[in-house]
């Protein structure tokens, strides 16, 4: 009888250990697939889009027509002289905001019902050899980054002695595949 009771206790103990291991595994799996935020992938496609949008000829000129600024020129001027005006009265930073709207939002077709549901552009100035931004001087975006299946990021650096300006684009891919 004592031997039988001992065997029963051992079995119960063993089953308990198995249950504990199983629960730990389940928690691990939950974190692996559901619990953690979406991965951020550095995408060559997004970096190319960003580079192309910096080449884009805007409708802002600060000197005479038709010497229009490129997206890259506007980024530089928004950092060095944010109060400078285009000939039509907008500030260079407003013109930059409209350019990003015109290029990235339209090209990616960002909306709640499309593949890309949100995007964010952050532009910062970095000191040379410093990993941390000295100053974030511009940011814009659209949509919410909640429930992204994946986040894609691209960046484009602009030389601005003594440091550099870095433009970062982050895009949220929706769960819906269209």
């Amino acid at each position: 009888m004592i031997k039988n009771h001992k065997a029963q206790s051992e079995t119960v103990g063993f089953v308990l250990i198995i249950i504990i291991v199983a629960v730990i595994m389940m928690i691990f799996l939950w974190f692996l697939f559901i619990g953690k935020p979406a991965d951020i992938y550095t995408s060559a496609d997004m970096s190319d889009l960003l580079t192309a949008s910096m080449l884009y000829t805007t409708n802002c000129s600060t000197t005479f027509l038709p010497e229009y600024k490129s997206g890259r020129d506007l980024v530089r001027e928004c950092y060095t002289n944010s109060g400078e005006l285009c000939l039509d009265g907008r500030t260079v930073c407003q013109a930059l905001n409209e350019t990003i709207e015109e290029t990235i939002r339209k090209v990616l077709d960002v909306s709640d019902v499309s593949v890309y549901k949100a995007f964010r552009v952050n532009i910062s100035y970095y000191e040379k050899n410093s990993p941390n931004p000295k100053e974030e001087f511009f940011s814009t975006g659209q949509g919410s980054f909640a429930n992204c299946t994946a986040r894609y990021g691209g960046y484009d650096p602009i030389n601005q002695p003594p440091g550099y300006i870095e433009i970062r684009l982050q895009v949220c891919k929706s769960r819906k595949e269209i």
Binding site: M25, L29, A44, D45, L55, Y56, T57, Y68, K106
Partner: protein, 168 residues
């Protein structure tokens, strides 16, 4: 009683192995598939990026990822380049074409350029193919108020490659 204990033990061990197996399979599949897709994408994209920076396409001032659309137009009727690049189709879609169906796009010719959507440089008739694309800056010289300047827009460079089937 020993048989009962053994049975419990066996069930528990199998359960444990199944869980560990599931865990390992989940990790392997989630990582390998993502990595494989990423490597394949990067490889094909770098091929197109090299193309955009080649002398046949690059813009004045050698801007990175920039294609001179006047140069691209000049390549349309040049059949020598069909053998020069390892692509079965090469074309540029202007931003005006992004939301249009292929049938609605206006093909660029010397007569309608630059008021068109699609610069088809060449196309070979091949059945088994895969296409890749990359965003580029598409620039051309524009004249306004007797002043010549470079006007750039966003476009997509699309390259199609023939898939080589393995014969068994």
């Amino acid at each position: 009683m020993h048989i009962q204990e053994m049975a419990f033990m066996l069930v528990a061990v199998i359960f444990l192995f199944v869980l560990v197996g599931l865990f390992v399979v989940a990790i392997i599949f989630s990582n390998i598939r993502v990595e494989a897709d990423k490597i394949a994408m990067d490889k094909t994209l770098s091929a197109i990026k090299n193309l955009a920076n080649s002398p046949e396409f690059y813009c004045v001032g050698s801007k990175p990822n920039c294609v001179d659309s006047d140069k691209a137009m000049a390549l349309i009727s040049n059949k020598n380049y069909q053998k020069f690049w390892p692509f079965s189709r090469l074309e540029i879609l202007k931003s005006s074409a992004f939301k249009k169906k292929e049938s609605e796009m206006i093909l660029c010719t010397m007569q309608n350029y630059p008021n068109c959507d699609r610069i088809l440089i060449y196309k070979k008739n091949i059945n088994n193919k895969v296409s890749t694309s990359s965003y580029i800056g598409l620039c051309r010289n524009e004249l306004e108020k007797n002043y010549n300047y470079q006007k750039c827009e966003i476009a997509k460079l699309i390259a199609e490659t023939e898939l080589i089937e393995t014969k068994t």
